[in-house]
């Protein structure tokens, strides 16, 4: 069992007070906090080893290149990639998904179909809208069931994935409902019609042991800042044979082979997709974050997530006026718990909780169509990580109860 009390010592920010209360940070699905060693790894890089990579071959350049490419190897190992050449650095998960959509989009035309789901984050939705718009392909999507799971049955009935389908792109774990999608099942279906399976692993990779081969993905996007790493860096992993077929996306810098004014040829993956100076120090930081997670153990982290999620679900579920979106049991369920509170808009709830030191997110969490589908305009979301304690869950539950009273038992000046 993981010991969050010990882990918390690695995260100085968790000692902060907010509005006179100890900080209770339950917005980790939005971005995670960073352990000191991750920040120090970047500091040491900048102050002792900083240089540009690949192009700079002096001693500092060699050190920086080794650190940068070493991080690529760590990341490849972390997700059990066959080779680190399958790991492309991007600026975040969104760029990774756009890279997928722009390059796969070049193969699309009228009559082709792209399949996503109604529970996607905008970053796995808007890029496909843009790709379909540009190519004339059609965007289709999985619906969800009443308990917030992917509706495989209606999809099957409607022939959602069929011989016109060229790409299927799904979140591994929903950032709103917490639902863990049956990627393998959908990937097998996609592959049976020759479609490429793209997976948005933004919420899955930070919390679960990841094996890209077992998952069934052809491309997998994720982001460092949600897994104890820095902002400014994400990853698109891809099967090498697929990456080797894809055209370039961003041009410039070292993504080339031969450049003439008239035309250019391009480097093999991953460099083909990395234009300009890459996020060097951020790769170092992401590597340090992965070392940190590995030391604690992804199995332990996943078990802790389940424990914390169960506590949030039962604590909030017992309160009057609280409605949980998505699965209410920790079965095929990740750690994001979104909910509404009668009479208290999420925006106001966020503010009230913040006044007691509790940080949650309020809004549509970049999943507006899902909220529309659930017939709520917006929701509040609590999400923990390896440093979250049961006591923090209690503080959340108490603060939500207090907020409900604050709005619903106020009499106002005129009454």
């Amino acid at each position: 069992m993981l010991n969050p009390a010990a882990i918390r010592g690695d995260f100085p920010i968790l000692d902060r007070e907010v509005n006179g209360h100890p900080l209770v940070y339950l917005d980790s699905a939005n971005t995670s906090q960073k352990p000191r060693e991750v920040v120090e790894a970047m500091e040491a890089h900048y102050l002792r080893h900083n240089a540009n990579v690949a192009r700079a071959m002096h001693t500092l350049g060699a050190e920086a290149t080794e650190a940068f490419e070493g991080a690529r190897v760590k990341i490849g190992d972390f997700i059990q990639a066959r080779s680190s050449d399958e790991v492309i650095f991007t600026k975040n998960a969104s760029e990774a998904l756009n890279l997928a959509a722009y390059t796969l989009g070049r193969r699309l035309g009228p009559g082709d179909e792209v399949v996503i789901s109604v529970m996607e984050h905008h970053s796995n939705l808007v890029p496909w809208q843009l790709a379909c718009e540009a190519s004339g392909a059609t965007l289709r999507w999985f619906d969800i069931t009443e308990d917030g799971r992917l509706d495989l049955e209606s999809a099957q009935r409607d022939g959602l994935i069929n011989e016109r389908t060229k790409v299927v792109s799904l979140a591994w774990v929903s950032n709103v409902l917490g639902t863990i999608n049956p990627i393998r099942t959908v990937a097998d279906w996609a592959h049976s019609v020759g479609a490429v399976m793209v997976v948005d692993g933004s919420q899955g990779v930070p919390q679960r042991d990841t094996d890209v081969n077992a998952l069934g993905a052809d491309l997998l996007a994720f982001t460092a800042h949600k897994l104890c790493g820095p902002t400014g860096i994400g990853v698109l992993w891809g099967r090498y044979e697929l990456l080797a077929e894809l055209p370039p996306f961003l041009g410039g810098g070292e993504m080339i082979e031969v450049v003439r004014m008239e035309n250019s040829t391009y480097a093999p993956p991953p460099h083909r997709f990395e234009a300009g100076t890459p996020p060097i120090a951020q790769a170092v930081g992401m590597g340090a974050a992965i070392d940190y997670l590995n030391r604690i153990g992804m199995e332990e982290i996943a078990a802790h997530e389940s424990d914390i999620t169960a506590r949030i679900l039962s604590g909030l579920g017992a309160l009057p006026g609280v409605h949980i979106l998505g699965p209410c049991e920790v079965v095929d369920r990740g750690g994001a718990v979104s909910f509404t509170v009668d009479g208290v808009h999420p925006h106001d709830l966020m503010q009230l909780l913040d006044s007691r030191g509790v940080a949650v997110r309020g809004g549509h969490h970049c999943a507006a169509p899902l909220h529309r589908r659930l017939r709520v305009q917006s929701s509040s979301r609590a999400s923990g990580y390896l440093y979250t304690t049961p006591e923090e869950v209690n503080a959340l539950v108490e603060a939500v109860a207090w907020s409900y009273d604050f709005f619903n038992s106020r009499t106002g000046r005129k009454s």
């Binding site: 509005n19 913040d354 000046r413």
Partner: protein
């Protein structure tokens, strides 16, 4: 500034019974504004009669701050002339962007002074401005010549 002080009774009251809510005809222009970060939205109509705002009606969904601010705004501007309404807009915006340092004029802003506390929460200023921005945009679209305000960006 505590959150209790921010959520003044005036705000809660307007949030509960939003004055002038519901879309009405006739109107000169209709706009739809959203606060993309939280999804708060308002559809707002304005009717202008000569120099006077004869009606503002709206259909809105959002937090207590945005809803109450829109309600208070309608109380203030319906029946007021356009130029003075825009002067009020500027005064309200000045208060909201003043981070709590601007002393509002209660005679002018009436119930809207209840939002002075919100100015200390920069993330919520957008909420308080949502209805006002929509109103200004609707006036532009209904073809009214608007005065240039202090602090306007362009």
């Amino acid at each position: 500034m505590s959150v209790e002080q921010m959520y003044q009774d005036i705000i809660i009251d307007h949030y509960r019974e939003k004055h002038h809510s519901g879309l009405r005809t006739p109107f000169g222009a209709e706009v739809h504004h959203v606060n993309p970060s939280c999804g708060d939205e308002v559809t707002l109509r304005v009717a202008v009669d000569g120099d006077t705002i004869s009606d503002v009606s709206y259909d809105a969904e959002g937090c207590a701050i945005s809803q109450a601010a829109t309600s208070v705004m309608c109380d203030l501007v319906i029946g007021r002339d356009v130029a003075d309404s825009m002067a009020l807009f500027a005064e309200f915006r000045e208060m909201m962007e003043g981070q709590g340092e601007v002393v509002p004029d209660e005679d002018r802003l009436e119930d809207a002074i209840a939002f002075a506390g919100v100015a200390q929460f920069p993330a919520r200023v957008k909420c308080a401005m949502l209805g006002w921005s929509a109103l200004r945009d609707a006036l532009v679209r209904s073809g009214v010549e608007l005065p240039r305000l202090p602090d306007d960006k362009e």
